[in-house]
Symmetry: C2
Subunit: 336 residues, 2 copies
């Protein structure tokens, strides 16, 4: 309601906002993102018009996903990495996908002071996770925000997520390169990281490889390198690499950027870069369709009742999953 | 048509077949499974009646999934393992889930002579993968067959699949314990195994650990043990183990059975054994519902046309996945 009130007085026509945004105006960008994040129907209509206007100017960037458990040093790493990129003349946007923040209404990037230098850098744009949306909603809004940032001239998009929820699967589905940030621990290297994340990574960076940590970091790097070779190669033939970095001492950052550039070069040449983006677009189309089909089904009052009965019958071995499904679908057909 | 013709002459009332089956008659069991596998509506009606009659007598078994690439020695291993179990007084059913066989109309267990000894064992029952069904159909039929086998008194159910297709995900969703069979190779330990399979395993058995292979097998065992520790623990707290075996020399088989018994004991005590079966039932219920909801949508002629358009628009950056999904769903709502 707050956002709605703010815009009622001063609606900027979508064409005007789009033109400003595409000319590199980050105030216009912020405003467009706020429209994307709003649930107000008028704002959504404007947002969709802006996105459509931005589409021809989007898609020219490298999208980098970064995940890691709290404590892995994500903010410090992103600050060091982002500053390195702006130093090379890049324009860097940092977005966050944090479905859990929708509960607390907070955000991992909400406290921008954690990236003090980057936030003051005119070539960097930092935007916290949209709040008050479902996990699917956060993913949608972040993907649309990426398009806006690209149209605004940002050529390096960093999407941050906490590696403990469902966010990293969503992020993996919207970036070109997925980086898992880790610190060397006491043996249980992956504690707190969900199963499957390691397999998704295009690179693992052992962060905080400095001072007394160096030995442990080297050990972790070697262990992960060995373990990654036990996995079958990825579809695009890329073999994930393990690197060490110290965001505090600013060590290892150029090597990570070099690796990402290698990845982009190799995959652009063999067609997998564009292929992955097309596949991701199709994935989100199918995903969105199916989520809504399911929502229509499960939100039906009669279905809710029958599903409860089915669960109970299954628990007491009175039916099979397939017979119960038949019954539910027959009822749905009749009603819909 | 063949099966339909055969039964037209001699239909046995479902109650009669159920009674015989529950008394341990494997001829009745075979016949009931043929009904389950048939697509003929009358056979399906009989099959569902029999399954319902069997449900109160089912569920008393340990269900073991075994996967491995061709060449890992699955048949020889299952023969040795099965014979060991019947030697302990167990009744062993061996089923196969092999979606690929539905194309060739063949089956990995079709050539029963590959398990010569087990096939002659009166306490063993071997059934090849149902042919002529979709992957989803194979999974459904196999799950229903498990119920029939359990009601017939089989207390050890082995479900075999080739670790190269989608079969292993289906099998993982219908067994209590999932075993990945491997052989020591020349470095690329997991070649041919799909990503994610290693994470699904409750145990990895390095097979053919005999003769000149022993050294390589030990190396592979150590590598996998180390790698598995890098994964976060499973939901039930079970830490997967790596064992060695020689099915030919019949080494390591008792240790594997001991491990499975440990697993069953621990998980029965902490409630995860029953909990996993309940979760699997729910999974198959939801899975079946959603597959059919999607089928109804995607098989619609109008939707097919619009989807093609959406894919093309996405490829040319003319729309976003979310806008395209909106358009498709609005059309579906109008028509259905």
């Amino acid at each position: 309601m707050h956002a709605a009130g703010r815009f009622k007085r001063s609606r900027i026509p979508p064409e005007e906002l789009t033109a400003k945004l595409c000319a590199g105006d980050t105030v216009a960008l912020s405003r467009a993102i706020t429209l994307v994040e709003s649930t107000h129907p008028e704002h959504q209509a404007d947002a969709q018009a802006i996105i459509e206007g931005c589409l021809p100017h989007a898609n020219r960037s490298v999208r980098i996903g970064i995940t890691g458990v709290p404590g892995a040093g994500k903010s410090t790493f992103i600050e060091a990495f982002g500053k390195y990129l702006t130093g090379l003349g890049k324009k860097v946007a940092v977005l966050a996908v944090d479905p859990s923040s929708t509960l607390s209404k907070g955000s991992i990037l909400g406290d921008k002071t954690r990236m003090e230098e980057l936030v003051r850098d005119p070539d960097a744009f930092i935007r916290p996770s949209p709040s008050g949306a479902s996990p699917g909603g956060v993913a949608r809004k972040t993907r649309e925000t990426i398009i806006l940032c690209e149209a605004c001239g940002f050529d390096s998009i960093i999407v941050e997520t906490v590696g403990v929820g469902q966010g990293e699967i969503a992020v993996h589905g919207m970036v070109d390169f997925f980086l898992l940030l880790k610190i060397a621990g006491a043996g249980d290297e992956l504690q707190g990281i969900k199963r499957g994340i390691v397999e998704m990574a295009d690179a693992i960076v052992i962060n905080k490889a400095d001072g007394e940590n160096i030995r442990a970091a080297r050990k972790a790097r070697n262990e992960f390198s060995r373990a990654l070779h036990l996995f079958p190669p990825k579809e695009n033939g890329w073999v994930p690499r393990v690197l060490m970095a110290s965001a505090v001492e600013k060590n290892g950052i150029p090597e990570i950027w070099e690796l990402i550039q290698d990845y982009v070069t190799v995959n652009t040449e063999n067609g997998h870069f564009a292929g992955k983006r097309t596949a991701q677009n199709r994935y989100w189309l199918i995903q969105t369709i199916e989520e809504r089909l399911k929502a229509r089904f499960y939100e039906d009052g009669q279905i809710k009742k029958l599903l409860e009965e089915a669960f109970s019958d299954l628990e007491h071995n009175k039916t099979t999953p397939f017979k119960a499904a038949d019954r539910l679908l027959r009822n749905w057909k009749r009603n819909s």
